[in-house]
């Protein structure tokens, strides 16, 4: 067991820090206050990701054949930690490199790969994820948006909701019902967002403008070839995607960065001598460390080629605990940050509160840990 980074890994991290310092604007922290899906950030991210791609730093963890450098999961983690700690200048594109790209590589047709991967690897594409529906959040398998085969096409009718980035995304990774079976009746369609019949409406939210939407599908037609994988294969495919999503977001790193920022602000103005504040800060730091290490234990196994299953939910819950405590610490000790005096902390708060909901609610993670890690008998349904 060894907890040291190699020299090469340290150098890689430094390279990323230098890159970020060079490529984010002076007023970046104010900038980052815009939601991750806002027009300002989306436009900035195109330029930022384009430059990242030129420097081979956008998809270094992808296989060499499709534009990556074949670096291991530790490098992916270092990359993601540095981006998240900086307030995620990649905007919505983090999704592309974390899971949409890898999922297309694994399950996509040659046509899909040729059509979509270049936009992702050059840092220009923006996707949205059409999973949740008004009646189907945690119980995703109950979704009702339907795709009916009509000749050489699917005709899509239904509604998605809380869809991040939908306002500006070019393509939707859409889950639809093609059969009656709860899980095996669901398929994935890759749908261009400019297809006639799609209506997008923004839903204002605490996490910032431009981020959350509802998306309506009225007789939207896409060719059968827009289907990713087989009909009914969606559940298997998204199980793969979501593990990548869950491990791909090092929220603990942003949480720790926010804590350090809050402590330094408090220290500078002489408010970090109070024992109660110091004890609270240390408690928060211990949760951030616990989350970081729980994630590292899994990254280590992935780096060694093992598949990581339910333990991902355990690491994820550790991260949720850390996120919440950092957000609470800031709200209690530096409430003026949420009023706008410290945009980085405000941004952390806006993103941190999402941790226990998006990509599977906290309780869903606990259910998975109880059944599949602790092996407790399952709940009756």
């Amino acid at each position: 067991m060894n907890f040291e980074w190699t020299e090469e890994q340290n150098a890689f991290r430094q390279r990323l820090r230098d890159f970020i310092a060079r490529n984010v604007p002076e007023d970046w922290e104010r900038f980052a206050e815009h939601g991750p899906g806002s027009p300002a950030l989306t436009e900035f991210a195109r330029e930022f990701c384009g430059t990242l791609a030129e420097d081979d730093l956008l998809t270094p963890h992808w296989p060499v054949e499709i534009g990556g450098l074949g670096l291991d999961p530790w490098h992916q983690t270092i990359l993601a930690e540095e981006m998240w700690s900086a307030g995620e200048p990649r905007g919505g594109q983090y999704m592309n490199v974390n899971w949409i790209g890898p999922t297309l590589m694994k399950y996509g047709s040659e046509e899909h790969k040729a059509r979509y991967l270049p936009g992702i690897t050059s840092g220009q594409a923006l996707w949205c994820q059409g999973f949740s529906e008004p009646g189907s959040g945690s119980d995703l398998a109950s979704l009702r948006t339907r795709a009916e085969p009509v000749g050489e096409s699917y005709r899509i009718n239904g509604q998605k909701v809380w869809t991040s980035y939908a306002g500006l995304a070019e393509t939707c990774f859409l889950l639809c019902r093609t059969g009656e079976d709860r899980k095996r009746g669901i398929s994935i369609l890759l749908v261009p967002m400019d297809t006639p019949g799609i209506t997008v409406r923004e839903i204002p939210s605490i996490i910032g403008r431009g981020d959350i939407h509802e998306v309506f599908f009225d007789d939207v037609e896409v060719p059968l070839s827009a289907r990713l994988g087989e009909e009914g294969q969606a559940w298997e495919i998204i199980a793969y995607s979501l593990t990548n999503e869950r491990l791909g977001i090092p929220r603990y790193a942003l949480a720790r960065a926010a804590l350090e920022r809050a402590v330094s602000i408090l220290s500078e103005r002489g408010d970090f001598a109070d024992d109660a504040v110091r004890i609270a800060a240390a408690q928060v730091a211990s949760l951030c460390e616990a989350a970081r290490l729980a994630n590292y234990a899994l990254i280590d196994r992935r780096a060694k080629g093992e598949t990581v299953g339910a333990e991902a939910s355990s690491a994820r819950f550790a991260t949720i605990m850390a996120e919440r405590r950092v957000a609470e610490f800031v709200a209690e000790q530096l409430p003026e940050a949420l009023a706008g005096t410290h945009p980085f902390l405000k941004m952390h708060h806006q993103r941190g509160i999402v941790a226990g909901i998006a990509a599977g609610a906290a309780e869903i993670q606990l259910n998975i840990v109880a059944s599949d890690v602790l092996q407790l008998p399952r709940e009756p349904r």
Binding site: W5, A282, S286, S314, M321, V369, P377, E379
Partner: protein
């Protein structure tokens, strides 16, 4: 970064597991509240598992792994101080090593008995004495699952030791963290087995979400305690050690209540051995000032001492 066991560590833990088989299951007992066995202590000493720190290829992480593994047993056996602090003492004490924090010298001291080597931590320095019968009172009725004794007072004649107090505190905290992680894992396994088995309202208790979620959260915290303990053991860095002990103490406080709760009356009687883990945790959770004490040391180490 390489978080799997080295082949040496794997070999040592396998050998330890094989040796520990006779002590895996909980003994039936009434008083005292702890389980101890001289044969276990002797076997451990003879096999040299507590000497791993001195081996440069093994070191303090291996010591923490051994401590964590031993704490999963229902039996209490002194390991943490011998494995982590023993090497700093320079001699090879015959008896167990005990730790005393002068700020809290009235606390019951684990394993304190005649001829025990007692290491005393003060901010100003580290010292030691060898316990003699007149200095302490055994506490066979204590509600802790360790053999404990209380000092009548701090002896006047202490031998100063050339040990940095910050390093002693860090190693004490690493030991606490590793031992708590093992105790918590043992207690969780024992509780999970019970609620999976026990039926009420026609179904196992473990199928009720109120219980499942709290056990799952316990798992998440205990997993964190394990990794924090190991990472702290790697460098015995004061900041990381304090964070590890802090997380362990808070987890101990949260889990012991829940685990007993889920056992109902059985958690209060000696029919079930849960107390053999939890009533060790209750003593450990308060050492060195408990969670708040560790938090203070963590804040000092991470952000510098309080000014003003």
């Amino acid at each position: 970064m390489d978080l799997s066991l080295s082949s040496d560590q794997r070999t040592i833990l396998d050998a330890l597991d094989a040796m520990l088989r006779p002590w895996e299951s909980a003994p039936i007992h009434d008083a005292p509240l702890f389980a101890s066995d001289d044969a276990l202590e002797a076997a451990l000493a003879e096999a040299g598992f507590l000497q791993v720190t001195a081996d440069p290829d093994l070191g303090t992480v291996t010591a923490a792994l051994v401590i964590e593994r031993l704490a999963r047993l229902p039996y209490a056996v002194e390991a943490a101080a011998s494995a982590l602090i023993g090497p700093l003492l320079g001699d090879d004490p015959a008896g167990p090593i005990c730790l005393v924090d002068t700020r809290q010298w009235r606390r019951p001291v684990r394993y304190l008995r005649e001829n025990a080597r007692v290491v005393v931590l003060e901010d100003a320095g580290v010292s030691a004495f060898t316990a003699s019968a007149g200095q302490f009172r055994a506490e066979p009725k204590a509600l802790f699952a360790y053999p404990v004794a209380s000092l009548h007072e701090l002896p006047d004649a202490l031998e100063p030791l050339p040990i940095d107090p910050a390093q002693l505190r860090a190693r004490w905290q690493v030991g606490l963290a590793a031992e708590c992680a093992g105790l918590l894992a043992g207690a969780l396994a024992s509780t999970a087995a019970h609620v999976s088995d026990r039926q009420q309202f026609g179904r196992p208790l473990a199928t009720f979400q109120a219980i499942r979620h709290r056990l799952a959260e316990a798992h998440v915290r205990i997993n964190g305690a394990y990794w924090l303990a190991m990472s702290a053991a790697a460098g015995c860095d004061p900041g990381q050690a304090a964070l590890a002990a802090l997380h362990a103490a808070e987890t101990a406080r949260m889990c012991t209540y829940d685990f007993h709760q889920f056992l109902g009356a059985m958690g209060m009687t000696l029919e079930h051995p849960l107390h053999l883990w939890t009533y060790r945790l209750k003593l450990l959770a308060g050492e060195l000032g408990g969670a708040a004490g560790h938090a203070r040391s963590a804040a000092d180490a991470l952000w510098g001492p309080a000014e003003g």
